[in-house]
Symmetry: C2
Subunit: 186 residues, 2 copies
């Protein structure tokens, strides 16, 4: 059934977020997903392949949320919503699913690195589009601002994770960056 594969990916997504990639063993994972080892390797050639599938799962979820968000501030809101949902589910900020995996694996698993890079590229493109439609202050380039917003999102999330700060603080930082670059801070 499709169900088993999905259970595996969803369990992995949860466990990679609350622990880390390396600290989750295939056996742990199979127990959590109520699946046996052989089944796991029926669906995935390796643990690394699973990581890519987890990225795809999160990317699909993010795509859905971002499609609804119109305007720069809505992007900040979408990030805050997602992080807030994680916070509620896990009791703390657990980091960005992409950023976490990228930070841990991008030096050792180039395929995953490229996979995450593609997510960031798509994300940035959408930000550029939103920037182009916003009333930016003179001299502010949409591409430059989009990259700054993406970095701000990743940085705020990482710092909130390390400091155990609430998701609301993440959103505040992103909004402040946006308003600093608009003609009429809204």
């Amino acid at each position: 059934m499709v169900v088993s594969r999905e259970r595996i990916v969803r369990s992995a997504a949860k466990m990679f977020l609350t622990r880390s990639y390396a600290s989750v063993g295939i056996s742990d994972l199979c127990t959590a997903a109520d699946v046996h080892k052989g089944s796991f390797y029926h669906f995935f050639a390796s643990k690394a392949e699973l990581a890519k599938a987890v990225v795809d799962l999160h990317a699909a979820e993010f795509d859905r949320r971002f499609a609804e968000a119109k305007g720069l501030y809505a992007v900040a809101g979408a990030v805050a919503d997602v992080q807030g949902a994680f916070e509620e589910k896990f009791g703390r900020i657990v980091g960005c699913p992409f950023g976490n995996l990228a930070a841990e694996l991008s030096t050792t698993d180039d395929e995953l690195r490229v996979h995450v890079a593609a997510v960031f590229d798509r994300w940035e493109k959408r930000l550029v589009a939103a920037c182009e439609q916003a009333p930016l202050r003179d001299g502010v380039e949409p591409e430059q601002l989009a990259r700054m917003i993406l970095a701000q999102i990743q940085g705020q999330i990482l710092i909130a994770k390390v400091r155990l700060r609430p998701a609301t603080e993440i959103a505040a930082g992103i909004r402040a960056l946006i308003s600093a670059n608009l003609k009429e801070p809204g």
Copy 2:
């Protein structure tokens, strides 16, 4: 001798940067540091203790660099210098030593998380001081801007690592953030 302990920490710092914490085994490490396992455990109670020592090593290096940097733009320059040095040494952006370890371990090793959080706190305090002496645009709070700069640094480094971009791009993002919040962009 003191030399052995130092060789271990320096090797670990290098290997954690170019690979990751989990992917470096104690045996790998001992080989690289030309030390035997027993010696390692003479100096460190566990691998986790080593991680803290590595953070301390990097923190000392950063403190030295930052002490010289006067003014907000100098901070951006200091970050660029450090990342540029890593880039030259390793042939690519390998990430922030603190951010990398924090991202990988802060959910599973609370002591390390606190250790890195302290580094960020000190770093931020210095940024606040620099912001207070800078001609900020009206309505910009030094504390808020300092947190944004810290997040921008971490985010830019992480994204550069994932995308394999040069260190110069990191500096550009940080400088753009600063100039967007100054009265007279320099």
